[in-house]
Symmetry: none
Amino acid sequence: VLANLRIVLVETSHPGNIGAAARAMKNMGLSQLYLVNPKQFPHQEATARAAGADDLLQHAVICSTLDEAINDCELVLATSARQRHLAWPTCDPRECAALVHQATDKKIAIMFGNERAGLSNEQLCQSHYHVHIPVEESFSSLNLAAAVQVISYELRMAASTLQPKIVAESEPMANHQDMNAYYQRLQSTLVELEFCDPKQPRLLMQRLQRLYNRARLSKTEVNILQGILSAVAKNTKTN
Amino acid sequence: VLANLRIVLVETSHPGNIGAAARAMKNMGLSQLYLVNPKQFPHQEATARAAGADDLLQHAVICSTLDEAINDCELVLATSARQRHLAWPTCDPRECAALVHQATDKKIAIMFGNERAGLSNEQLCQSHYHVHIPVEESFSSLNLAAAVQVISYELRMAASTLQPKIVAESEPMANHQDMNAYYQRLQSTLVELEFCDPKQPRLLMQRLQRLYNRARLSKTEVNILQGILSAVAKNTKTN
């Protein structure tokens, strides 16, 4: 899906933001960058902030009109900081990612406006959806590259939840028998150390059981804990 | 919840990244910024990139050690780009936000390492969870402020879909300082018992840290474990 997706930066003022946006895109596995009337491009600051995403800059498609950048697209989304006077179908970045992933085989554009003013009402109206990144109302102006980062991140998250999840502790887990053997030896050690009252061991041992069971020990970890008890035994004074 | 949350930037090299991180935080409604040994701060580039989030920079807490920044925290998360040799409980930014929102009334830190190297293994082991931002493997190095942006965005998204609380730990939780004191005493005890090689304590101690951090100990539980160490000390043969 993401191969059919382009990020369209419209009338960007600062070349550094173009570079940082390219870096954010490449980090998240996006590759198609379209630039509509960039103020300065190419530019060394763009290259510096791209930090290795130079290929995206080199292959960036420079357009002189927004139409040129999105003409062949079947799904167009426009990022918008503000609620506009004209109500439009609106989604948040997560819903945006879901929409993109539903649009298999479609050509898709996500547009970002200029740093100072964002997209104009006219430009916003070229889109199927407005994407609104949730922000603090009193401090709502996101950096352009940060906005690209958030959207790209959600696109990647949506892609990766289609994959099987990772997890899988590499070590074999301790079983009940392992733990039981450990708890019995722990209890007799604590009695010997006079830390545990042999007539009333229960609450203390239950607390320790709860603690270790919560951690879900591996066999290796139980072996380490057993090793510590052996070391304690070897070093304990005989009465 | 977010009022109890601090973003901890460790040994940041570029002041511009500190400013951009502050801006990202404020956009998303976060306010507490901690800086551990920033290379240059305050700095005009930080102020410029903060773009109005100057108050976060002015109130930033400057620390000379990581411990100082997280000592009173009960939940510590560490962002990590790489998969480390020692597997640790890991979450993605969305799961991170869920964990934070479940930890009502807890003091929480999310740590970010230095631009070049990230957090060291030792620093990573101070955390309960590693947060892994999904990235393209062939181009995986995220800009620091971009990483702060992604995490802050997920925290805000989680806040806006706030669910009722799940777990209520009835006991007060141990904080980082409690755990650190315990680990130090555990290590010296294990050295004394000749279970731990004082020249190579690291892997063993990291394993034990992982085990106990996984269990998220209460203060009472740490006191019990400390009591066991006292009992061991009292009963150990003097050489």
